[in-house]
Symmetry: C2
Subunit: 233 residues, 2 copies
DNA sequence: ACAAAAGTGTTTGGAGTACACCCATGA
DNA sequence: TCATGGGTGTACTCCAAACACTTTTGT
């Protein structure tokens, strides 16, 4: 992308993309390589981008996500902006910014988004020069990410935990189209950091009219197969 | 404030300052005068400012509020950023921006904050060249404010309504130090757009251990005086 | 005495929680 | 036949909501 499209190199968007692999909550991180003296230094960062000219914030976030995953129509919401003057004070981050943007930038303010995606959708990481991978959110908190991305992910997690209690329907953004009740319950428990009772959970979901039982069972499990359900808005 | 302190004229903070006058929910607006040809045009805007060099977002918002009201230690939280390319497309806004900042600015992205203040605190509007006034939030929605400030206030209102259900303690940020139960209930009802039952409300607040009854009654009312309470965190 | 708001209990329905056993299936 | 998770019902508790009359005080 040419610099002629860049309006304001002091503002970016970053996306915290969550997924659920059936067991753990994961987030997408981009590999970043920095040539330092004659060393090659690797670390990870959130997918993000400068905001282009004539592009609004949501569009910028949406573009980042589509460029990265090839997916459209996914849940994506702004949740917070980060603009601490020393969020880009690490020399490595300064160096990387100047290399990438070819501009001298003091600090960059970023508008952070959360996205929820179905991890089983085969993701095409289209962005040419970037590799993305899923990481357990618990692992991430022990890693040292670029900029203040650890903080952004921690805040995103808190936000999404809250949001899922307000809008429980968002859980289905993280599940595949067909799922079993225990998959739903395991996701619920991971999000809410609890262990819910199997029978009470069944009762609760029984009164959700947007959950419909299919005439299908799961396959390939070494025990009694569970019934599959789907979500209907 | 000299331009030498300004780091990035493309980002600002705006504060939606809410107050409660005992009856209606109010917000603070700044008078804005624009000389247009030989006409003087008046309208209103949110208190806000460009973000200064080495200043983080919360500090910028806090500064705006202190400059305006002279108050410190008030509830102030970031809630959303606004960056639509045409949020500053109105010629009047473009003109005003250029006059105020002496800079040619394409669009400005703003990080919006909500503040809750006790309307009975005598406010010193210290900012030399600005006049601020309280307006009913219902009135505001019919007014034509600068930029996208109508939208920002609408979103702020929605945010604070939600936040007050999550943290009911925030109600006390809007009440004077001593208050009656019906003042509290009226505030609650205005926020939640409901009419709550007097007895149930008493019962509810009876089990709040942070509400303490004083040995004082309200004064100057033409009927039986109500007991005063105070809030203790 | 009257107007106006303060203050006070009981009942009911729905939601959440705790808790244990049989069933279906693959290995 | 055994190991593994699937699927089911009841009893109790707590909270929210509905609902009406007496008390206090100023005019």
């Amino acid at each position: 992308m040419g610099n002629e499209f860049i309006n304001n190199p002091h503002i970016s968007v970053d996306c915290v993309v969550f997924g659920f692999d059936g067991e753990k909550l994961k987030a997408l991180l981009i590999e970043r390589s920095i040539h330092e003296q004659n060393e090659l230094y690797n670390d990870k960062k959130l997918p993000g981008s400068i905001i282009l000219n004539q592009e609004n914030l949501d569009d910028a976030a949406s573009r980042v996500l589509t460029e990265l995953t090839g997916l459209k129509n996914i849940y994506l919401r702004q949740f917070k902006s980060f603009g601490d003057p020393n969020r880009s004070s690490n020399p490595r981050d300064v160096y990387w910014l100047e290399e990438t943007t070819k501009l001298k930038i003091g600090r960059i303010i970023t508008v952070a988004y959360v996205a929820l995606i179905k991890i089983d959708r085969k993701i095409v990481f289209t962005a040419e020069n970037s590799t993305a991978n899923w990481f357990d959110v618990t692992e991430i908190s022990k890693m040292q990410l670029a900029f203040d991305h650890n903080k952004i992910i921690a805040d995103a997690l808190q936000h999404i935990r809250h949001q899922l209690t307000v809008e429980p329907n968002l859980l289905f953004e993280l599940l595949s189209k067909k799922f079993t009740i225990s998959q739903l319950r395991m996701l619920y428990d991971v999000i809410n950091q609890c262990k819910s009772d199997v029978r009470n959970f069944q009762k609760k979901i029984a009164q959700m009219d947007y959950l419909i039982a299919l005439d299908e069972l799961e396959e390939g499990v070494p025990h009694r197969a569970a019934r599959l359900y789907k979500y209907k808005r």
